[in-house]
């Protein structure tokens, strides 16, 4: 009896391990694609990055006439999932969707298993600038208020932030204003929202996606780190207008591991161009409060390279804050 039991357990365990190793991806022969495609998202379900991936899975799946599955592989601020995308087979059956510059910031602040060039960037779909927001009843109405208070009280302004880019944005913002501030880390957008609406921190560093809930809760934006005013929020000034040349934002990119054959890449980029220039996709993004901006293969690589060049000095001059 006991032997039978042990045998049964061993058998089921082995079987379950096999089942985990299996995937139904990848037809080996024939024209690409002839099997299911998976998109790895390095965040949990429900956030902005996940929403983008799910919209894209749907639209791209229709365009290529295959099933595209979204797999959430969260952990370590996106590091686990991005490492997994970079290490997956370069056959075009595994794609990744995440918010650039998460990979770049992680690469330069931690000892990651991937570099920027381990991925190939096929397209970008949105452009969500970071912003600084004040909570309800805040004494900070304008950027001048912040500078005045910051100069009188070095380190006296608390700025809530979450995620890799949140802290970087606080540091760059403070550098540009020439003041010292105290960043306070929160574990996610929800906790950060609670902190700013409850006035537990003075300011919040978060993306433009938080604009509506913060306004609804009685807070207001100070400015966005964008190149120009956003169509969705024409009343919010850019930092550039306020006299500070600071641009920083999240852009959801679609990537493949480096080394995908050219013919597969062509199929993918052509399909991405087809859906990317379709007004229907733009509408779906804007419905979800995601500022749409399609960048094709050539433009995305140009824009990311330029962005890397502006980010790197900020990261390097604040290296000690990340260690």
């Amino acid at each position: 009896m006991k032997k039978k039991l042990v045998l049964l357990i061993a058998l089921t365990l082995t079987l379950s391990l096999f089942a985990m190793g299996c995937n139904d991806n990848g037809g080996e022969q024939g024209a690409f694609p002839n099997g299911n495609i998976q998109i790895i998202v390095p965040y949990s379900a429900g956030g902005g990055g996940d929403t983008v991936a799910r919209i894209l899975a749907d639209a791209l799946g229709d365009e290529l006439d295959v099933q595209i599955n979204v797999i959430n592989r969260e952990g370590a601020g996106g590091e686990l999932g991005i490492a997994e995308i970079a290490a997956s087979d370069a056959d075009g059956y595994t794609l990744g969707v995440f918010g650039y510059p998460d990979n770049f910031v992680l690469e330069h602040t931690r000892d990651t298993d991937f570099t920027f060039d381990d991925l190939e960037y096929l397209a970008a779909f949105d452009d969500m600038p970071m912003g600084i927001f004040a909570g309800p009843g805040s004494e900070f109405e304008t950027i001048e208020d912040i500078i005045a208070y910051g100069e009188a009280n070095p380190g006296g302004i608390t700025i809530g932030e979450s995620g890799a880019l949140g802290l970087l944005h606080v540091l760059a913002f403070s550098d540009h204003l020439g003041i010292e501030t105290s960043p306070v880390n929160f574990e996610g957008g929800g906790e950060l929202m609670n902190a700013i609406l409850g006035a537990h921190v003075d300011l919040a560093s978060t993306s433009s996606m938080s604009h509506d809930p913060i306004m609804d809760g009685g807070g207001h934006p100070i400015g966005f780190a964008a190149a120009e005013r956003m169509d969705m929020f024409p009343d919010v000034p850019t930092f550039k207008e306020l006299g500070f040349d600071l641009e920083m934002g999240v852009s959801r990119v679609l990537v493949v591991p480096a080394g995908v054959p050219d013919e597969v890449k062509t199929v993918l980029t052509e399909a991405l161009d087809a859906i990317g220039n379709d007004p229907e996709l733009k509408e779906r993004f804007e419905n979800a409060a995601l500022p749409y901006r399609y960048l094709d293969y050539d433009r995305v690589n140009e824009v990311l390279q330029r962005s890397n060049d502006t980010l790197l000095p900020v990261i390097e001059s604040n290296q000690q804050r990340f260690e």
């Binding site: 009896m1 006991k2 039991l5 049964l8 357990i9 058998l11 089921t12 365990l13 079987l15 379950s16 985990m20 949990s44 379900a45 429900g46 956030g47 902005g48 996940d50 799910r54 919209i55 749907d58 797999i71 959430n72 592989r73 969260e74 952990g75 370590a76 601020g77 590091e79 686990l80 602040t109 931690r110 009280n153 380190g155 006296g156 302004i157 608390t158 105290s182 960043p183 306070v184 880390n185 996610g188 957008g189 929800g190 906790e191 929202m193 609670n194 902190a195 609406l197 409850g198 537990h200 921190v201 509506d212 809930p213 609804d216 809760g217 804007e286 419905n287 979800a288 409060a289 260690e323």
Partner: protein, 494 residues
Amino acid sequence: MDSLQILLGILSPGVMLVIFAGVLIGIIVGAIPGLNGAIGISLLLPITFTLEPQIGLLLLGGIYMGGMYGGSITAILLNVPGDVVAAPAAMEGYPLTKQGRSKEALYYSIFSSMFGGVIGVLILIFFTPPLARFALQFGPAEMFFIALSGLVVIGALGGNIYKSLFAVFFGLFISTIGVDAITASQRFTLGNINLRSGISVVPVVLGLFCLAEMFLNIGKKANEVVTYKEQNITRMTVIKEILRHKMLVFKGSMIGTFVGLLPGVGTTLAVFLSYGEAKRVSKNPELFENGNVEGIIAAESANNATVGSTMVPLLALGVPGSPTTAIIAGALIIHGIILGPSLFVQRPDVAYTFIFGMMMTVVAMTVIGAFGIKYFAYILKIKMEYIVPTVLVFTLFGAYSLRNNVFDILIALVLGVVGAIFKKTGVPLAPIIIGVVLGGLIETNLVRSLTIANARQVSLLQYMLTNPLAIALLAMVCVIFYVVIKMRMKMKSM
């Protein structure tokens, strides 16, 4: 759209079907170890994109409600909590099963869940705006004291005091593993990338409770194994008995509601706080962990009450306080619905259909639970040699599906062995779970408090005790501490 139309909409067969389907899925994923409501919801999230927003929401709400209950079924019958929040149900329910009172335990669980669920949803319907404002009062200092109260409650749980202390420190130790959220320095990660995001509570529970129990079942002889006994007990008797403990139900629901409001705290704390409180007021505290229905009532009413209250900050402020509500927020966002106060003005159809429809998820849960118990109990008729491998497979699958990561299986297996050793040596397991859940909460809020106090140039104590609310919470911690000490002294003298 007026309220009558909304109500008729909810009661239409199509919507009711969706609600029942959601609740049933929730109960199933809840009962399977490792899978829980949050995973069920993320699996079904894509389906909601094609549904009307309010229908999709009710599907997810149904899974959430059902998932909170489902975990107690396997907890009571097999001592394998299907979800973290069902751990107390295992501690009290499984002893009852061993006494041949499984049906009774299951009835207590479903009807306590019903009462908790109803109270939580009523609070969602009637008190959303004021409670949302109240939740905002909780800053780092207040959260720190809340987490501390959970740590103090461990003292009430029983077991040898030194072994309990060891267990809670073990749990706290597990919570320190990973990249420190504030300074990003690595702690005990041994250079392993998978340990950087820390060890989540799910594989810990799967290992300590589910795998350990199954490991210990291996090699048991047939006559040592629990078998099913038919029991003559009616539903009405149990409901009346629960109503006799109406203070327990009320307190459990209030604790659940209160903790559910706070972002990032999680239901586990609510369940254990309520359970500890039940033990404190019980006339027979010595019966706890030997099959006391009061423990089941307190824990099960608390976890279902959180379902309604976690929705409060989400709907009123757009603040998702838990993974489950974050996914629900995602389902709304993709439909272009902005959460926050404007939701009730701009999309009253969605908002009101959802909150009133949540009441129907409680009804669906009660119907499925109360009539399904007969069939759930058949699990006990299955021979252990089939149960052990099945549970093992599901547990490993559950550990994997949390983050789609094989490493979590390894953690669950290691802790399964550790749990089996602890069970044999009498180290209590519940304090470990509480330690894992609260360690991070205590640390991050303490560091946040320090940062803010520093920025304001006041001492930590000055900052932490600025608000009357924080002072009240500190007083609460002291009272609980005093009561726990007194309880311990009394138990010793008995």
